[in-house]
Structure formats: structure tokens, C-alpha cells
């Protein structure tokens, strides 16, 4: 898109149109660069771990595997069964959570909103604790996947409640948040009561689950999460302009011909589904969904056309970086959810203070 009047005088600094196009170019460049960083970080993460495998050797193993198929050596199994799935998982989980957080903040007009605001995490927590403490599996799929299937099913309940309410009346964004908070409190209360009858071992397992971890996943799971995240984020990206209007207000978006209630519910369903899938495989990894979009806002502002893809890239790069660090520090590895907050909060605080552009929502 180019205005004819710009031709020949694009060097005029004060012209707001020039500034506008420069701004757009910056935002596109930001997305591209962060995206490249995310992919590079993901690939580099394959060579990091407690078991030492030479840097070049790692990629030779991956190349050999792709070219000639498996040969069953220990190094190959470590790379293909531990590191590659983990790197891929980190990319998609980080990207998915950050994109979901961005959408939630825009559509609920609340800087405290994150993918878990409507109760997904507490639903999943209850499902997981049912599986771990009581040994109950809702779907008869066997014990190995009972945590995953329980967490997934239970995490859909809060969204289902909001969906049911919104089919009866036009639910405002504040009501949506408050219903989510209510559901969240009820579910975590039940989880707390289950914790009372848990044995110390079960407590330990539940605690680890709630901190979130990327360490136990297979390649298939990583690709499943990847497909879901990519599909859901593309679906959300179709609503980018709607989200921009929603973040101004319900009345303005009505005036512009966008039904705010319907848009909110559709976005909520997509976000909840994506978050439910992510959470059921990794546990509740915090921080990324809440803070990554806010960090991006200090760079490129709150226009969802750019903010949504940029958040996704940034979240992916951030989670991969944190996961690499969590693998390098300590013997058993520190949970990635802890590393994200310890490293991320000072950076976020720095950005808040130093960047002249403050997040607005």
C-alpha cells in the first residue's frame, strides 16, 4: 500500500505518513528478527545437555538420522528422544502461550490477563491431581496418559461454563474475567483439599507438574502440540482486526460492525483449547503468557496485526532460551517455569523503566 503523494518526498522526516510506514517496517523487521532468533535458538538447543555430545557431532547425528535412518547408538537416542522433542516443544509451547496471552489481554482489556485467566490452569491442575492422587482416569486410556487426558478434559470445563453463560446472555469482558476467577478459585480449592490426602511422593509429583516442565515429552507429542498451536494461532490471527477494535471497547467495535460478544467467545474457545493442549502436556508454565506480550508491547506497541505474531516469536525464543539455561544450571535441572520468571522479571522491569513506549491495555 502506498500513497501517491509520498512519491518523491519520502525523505521528509516530519511527515506522519513517513513515520507511519517506518513504524510498520520496524515492526515487520522485529517479527522477522525475533522469529529467526527463535528458530536458531531452537536448533542450537539440541546441542545442550548434561550428557556431553560434541557441538558439531550433534548436527552430524541429526543429519545422518534424516539421511540414512536410525542406527541405534546412545548419542543418537539422546539427541532424538530427549533433546529434539524438548527443543521443538519449547518453541511451540512458548509461542502458543505468548500468543494466547496477547489475545486474552487485548480482548479482555486487562493487563493482568494471561492464558490461564479463565481458569484453564486450575482445571488442568484439578485433572492432574485427580490422576496423581486418586488414580482416577476420566477417559479409559490407561494409566500412562491419565494425567494428560484428565488435565485436558478438566481444563476445558471453565471455558465450557463461560460458553454456556454467553449463550444465554451477552457477557461483558469484566464478567468473563470474574467468572473465570470464580471457577479458578473453586477448582484450586478442590485441588488443595486433594493435596491434604496426598502422600509425600504424590505431593512431589503434583508440585513438579504444577511448576511445568518440558523434560518428559516424545517427538510425537511435540509435533501434536506444534500442529495445534500453529492452527489455533492462525485462526486467532484472522481476528486481528476484531481484537484491535475490542481492545478499544465494546461500543466502538459495535459501531464498526464487529460483534464484541461473539468475537470474545470465539477467541476464548480457541485460546482455551490451545492452552488446554499445551498445559496437559507440559503442566502450568507461568510467566511467558503474561509477560512476553507485555515485553513485546514496549517494542512495537499494541497493534494486534503485529503484536500477535511478534508475541508468538518472542515467547518461543524466550522459552527456548530459558529451557536451555534450566538445563545448564544444576544437576537435576531447575524447572523451566522458575527460570523464566527469575530471568524474565528483571528484563521486564528494565524494559518498563527504560523504554519510552509503555504497554497500554
Amino acid at each position: 500500500m502506498r500513497f501517491p503523494s509520498l512519491v518523491g518526498r519520502a525523505d521528509r522526516e516530519g511527515d506522519p505518513r513517513v513515520l507511519y510506514f517506518k513504524g510498520i517496517a520496524f515492526k515487520r523487521r522485529f517479527i522477522l528478527i525475533v522469529g529467526i532468533i527463535a528458530v536458531m535458538a531452537g536448533i542450537l538447543s539440541f546441542s545442550v545437555g548434561t550428557y556431553h555430545i560434541d557441538f558439531v557431532e550433534t548436527y552430524r547425528i541429526i543429519w545422518d538420522y534424516l539421511a540414512t535412518g536410525p542406527d541405534g547408538t546412545v548419542n543418537e537416542r539422546i539427541v532424538w528422544e530427549l533433546r529434539v522433542p524438548r527443543g521443538i516443544m519449547a518453541i511451540f509451547v512458548g509461542g502458543g502461550l505468548a500468543a494466547a496471552g496477547c489475545v486474552m489481554q487485548s480482548m479482555l482489556r486487562n493487563p493482568l490477563a494471561d492464558p490461564y485467566t479463565t481458569g484453564v490452569s486450575s482445571g488442568a491442575g484439578l485433572g492432574a491431581s485427580m490422576a496423581i492422587v486418586l488414580g482416577v482416569s476420566i477417559l479409559p486410556l490407561g494409566d500412562t496418559v491419565s494425567v494428560i487426558s484428565n488435565a485436558f478434559l478438566m481444563s476445558l470445563i471453565p471455558a465450557a461454563i463461560i460458553l454456556a453463560i454467553s449463550s444465554m446472555k451477552r457477557i461483558t469482558s469484566t464478567s468473563m474475567i470474574l467468572v473465570g476467577i470464580g471457577v479458578m478459585y473453586v477448582f484450586s480449592a478442590i485441588t488443595q483439599m486433594l493435596k491434604l490426602i496426598a502422600t509425600p511422593t504424590q505431593m512431589e509429583e503434583l508440585y513438579r507438574w504444577q511448576l511445568g516442565s518440558l523434560s518428559e515429552c516424545t517427538l510425537g507429542e511435540a509435533f501434536l502440540v506444534g500442529v495445534v498451536v500453529v492452527l489455533c494461532v492462525s485462526a486467532l490471527y484472522r481476528y486481528k482486526n476484531h481484537l484491535n477494535l475490542l481492545s478499544i471497547g465494546d461500543d466502538p467495535s459495535l459501531t464498526m460492525g464487529v460483534n464484541p460478544w461473539r468475537t470474545r467467545v470465539v477467541c476464548l474457545v480457541i485460546v482455551s483449547f490451545m492452552t488446554a493442549v499445551v498445559v496437559s502436556f507440559t503442566g502450568t508454565i507461568g510467566f511467558v503468557g503474561l509477560v512476553a506480550p507485555q515485553m513485546v508491547r514496549t517494542f512495537i506497541g499494541s497493534d494486534n496485526r503485529y503484536l500477535l505474531p511478534a508475541s508468538m516469536m518472542f515467547g518461543a525464543a524466550f522459552l527456548v532460551a530459558c529451557d536451555v539455561m534450566s538445563r545448564m544450571i544444576g544437576v537435576g535441572g531447575i524447572p523451566v517455569g522458575v527460570v523464566t520468571a527469575i530471568i524474565g522479571s528483571p528484563i521486564f522491569l528494565y524494559l518498563l523503566v527504560k523504554r519510552s513506549r509503555k504497554p497500554t491495555i
Binding site: 446472555k169 469484566t174 476467577i181 478459585y185 488443595q192 509425600p200 510467566f287 522458575v338 522491569l349 509503555k358
Partner: protein
């Protein structure tokens, strides 16, 4: 003005007076309910005491009536006044403080899910307490309950200090303030986790109990600081409650009306932080009441902070006391009072929100 008719056929003045009296009636109902629940709560325990005799026992103690040691009256007096009442009053004061702070923070931040812990107080305090419990480090070299309390208090003040310091170098809009709080609380939350990784089960259990909050083992001495701060803080907040109304119109409008929103927000934050800290240091982190009680109040009497602030005190006290009473009544004291409250109050709250959906549009 007096002759302008509203849709209901009353004059505006009549309508206004009716709405004001409705607010007073609501508060009156809360006071009566609170008194009744206190009486019921006093009867719960291993020694059975008749509900109807409770007001008499309390009144006689206040008058200074003494009983011969070991007599029935003496035992009743001792059990009610020294064993059960501290915990009951503790629940009331804690609930009241958290609710009034919640109401004020929600107004200041213009955010319905803000609560007294949004600024990071709870995670700072939590880190302090966990440090005392697990590592054994505390200010004043006193481990044990006092060390935990002191540590929680001091570390809980760090987030507020950071916010106040940052306010010198940057503009603190509500969103920035919230985000600074988020950053600080996430940071403290994660180092708390880091400290707890590798601790043995028993200390972990202690740390966990502190994190979910509890009203067990309350004695009269614990109440002093909490109560003094509650009384002083709520008087201060009530005096400036009109400023909260002005601020909810937005910072620019507030400035036009002569209120420096930014400065007022920071000063109020400091006051609220001290009040919240005094509760958190003694009880641990009790959730739910700070965020929900103000909403319930607004649902009944609207968003005028002149009434929301005093009514929140009563509603918060009632909510936490009811939850504590129920958990004492039914299943021992092992269920955290916050969980009990959320379990009972959550569905009721969801129902309220759905009923009054259109009211929740964001006027705080």
C-alpha cells in the same frame, strides 16, 4: 431538581434518598449478621456452650465480672474469651483488612481482578517466610513464629519500596504500576520455589501451610497490630474515599478536578501495603476475600466508594468469619480457610456475576 420525575414516578431527591437508605440498610444487615455469626462461632468447640448465653458471657467479661476459679461460669468465660474469641476476631480483622484493601486497590488500578496482593506483597512476604522456615534465616536472629512474622513483614515491604523508588524515574500509570507489581511478584515467587527445591518434606509442609494461609493458633497479642492498623487505615481511606471516586473517572479527569492521581495512588498504595502486610505476616496468604468481597458489595450497593469502603470491611469480616466457622464446624482445621471460602463462596460469586452481568462493565 426536586420536581424532576424519574421513570418510577418519584422525584430525583426521593429516589436518591431511597438509594442511600438502601446502602445503610445493607450495612445494618451485615452488622447484625456479623454479631449472630460471632455468637454461633463462639459455641463451636469441644466444650458445648449455649448460643443464647454467649452475649451474656461477652457482656459480663466486658463489665469485668469475675467468677470463682474452676466454676462453670469461670470455664465458660475462659473458653469463650481466651480460646475462641481471639481466633474469631482474628478472622474478622483479617477479612476486613483484606477486603478494604481489595476495594481500594481495584479502584486505584481500575482493574476488577486486582487484589491486595497485586503489588507483589504476598510473594515478597512469602519469600521472607519461606526463608525463615527453610533456610532458617531471619532478621533479629529469632527463628520460630516471631522470626517468620518479622521476615514476612520486612520482605513484603520490598515490592512497595521498589515501586516507590521507580516512581521517581518514571510515570506510574495504573497499567505500569500493575506490571511492575507483576514483575516483582513473579520474581519473588520463583526464588521462593528455588529455595524450596531440595528442602525436606516437613519444612516444605510448613512452608506450604504458610502459603495457603491459616487462622490457627491465634492469640490476643497477635491482634493488636492488625487491629490498630485496620482502624487507622480505614479511617484514612474513608476520609479520602471521594478521591477514589474521582480517580475512577480516569487520571486526566481527576487532574481537572484537582486530584493528583499519580501521587494519590502511590500514597494510598503505601498505606494499603502496610495494612495488608500486617495481616499477611500473621496469617499467611489468604486469597479470595480481598478480590471477591468488594465485588459482592458493589453488586448490592453500587460503586460509590463512600459506601463501598465501609461496607467492604463488614462484608470481608463476615465472609472470612463464616468460612472459618464452617471449616471449624465440619472437618477439623486441616482444610485451609482460603480453600474453604473459595469452595463455598466461588459458586455463589459466579451466580452473582451472571445475575448482574450488565453491572460489571468496569466502573470501579
Amino acid at each position: 431538581m426536586e420536581y424532576i420525575e424519574t421513570d418510577n414516578g418519584y422525584s430525583i431527591v426521593e429516589e436518591y434518598n431511597a438509594s442511600i437508605s438502601r446502602k445503610f440498610v445493607f450495612m445494618g444487615v451485615l452488622v447484625v449478621a456479623l454479631f449472630l455469626v460471632v455468637c454461633v462461632a463462639c459455641t463451636i468447640g469441644s466444650r458445648s456452650i449455649d448460643v443464647l448465653s454467649i452475649p451474656g458471657i461477652l457482656w459480663n467479661h466486658i463489665l469485668g465480672v469475675t467468677y470463682p476459679a474452676g466454676s462453670v461460669g469461670w470455664w465458660d468465660d475462659y473458653i469463650v474469651w481466651d480460646v475462641r474469641l481471639p481466633r474469631i476476631l482474628g478472622a474478622m480483622v483479617a477479612g476486613a483488612s483484606l477486603a478494604i484493601c481489595g476495594a481500594a486497590v481495584q479502584s486505584l488500578m481500575n482493574n476488577p481482578i486486582a487484589d491486595p496482593y497485586t503489588m507483589g506483597i504476598s510473594s515478597g512476604a512469602c519469600f521472607g517466610a519461606v526463608l525463615a522456615i527453610i533456610v532458617g534465616f531471619s532478621f533479629g536472629n529469632t527463628v520460630g513464629t516471631f522470626g517468620i512474622t518479622l521476615n514476612a513483614f520486612i520482605f513484603g515491604m520490598i515490592p512497595v519500596a521498589v515501586v516507590l523508588m521507580l516512581s521517581r524515574v518514571m510515570r506510574m500509570s495504573p497499567v505500569t504500576l500493575i506490571l511492575v507489581g507483576v514483575a516483582i511478584s513473579q520474581f519473588f515467587g520463583s526464588i521462593t520455589t528455588l529455595v524450596s527445591v531440595g528442602a525436606d518434606e516437613e519444612t516444605l509442609q510448613g512452608a506450604y501451610l504458610w502459603q495457603v494461609g491459616s487462622l490457627n493458633n491465634f492469640v490476643w497479642d497477635d491482634l493488636t497490630l492488625m487491629t490498630i492498623l485496620l482502624v487507622m487505615g480505614s479511617i484514612a481511606l474513608y476520609v479520602v474515599s471521594w478521591k477514589f471516586n474521582v480517580i475512577s473517572l480516569g487520571d486526566d479527569n481527576a487532574k481537572a478536578l484537582g486530584v493528583d492521581a499519580e501521587k494519590f495512588r502511590l500514597i494510598s498504595m503505601a498505606v494499603l501495603a502496610v495494612m495488608t502486610m500486617s495481616v499477611v505476616a500473621y496469617t499467611g496468604i489468604i486469597g479470595f476475600v480481598g478480590i471477591i468481597a468488594p465485588h459482592v458489595v458493589r453488586y448490592v450497593i453500587g460503586s460509590d466508594n463512600k459506601f463501598v469502603i465501609p461496607a467492604s470491611i463488614l462484608a470481608g469480616a463476615l465472609l472470612l468469619l463464616c468460612a472459618d466457622t464452617v471449616s471449624r464446624l465440619f472437618i477439623a482445621e486441616s482444610i485451609p480457610v482460603g480453600a474453604m471460602m473459595a469452595f463455598i463462596g466461588g459458586p455463589v460469586f459466579i451466580y452473582l456475576v451472571i445475575r448482574k452481568n450488565s453491572m460489571f462493565k468496569g466502573a470501579y
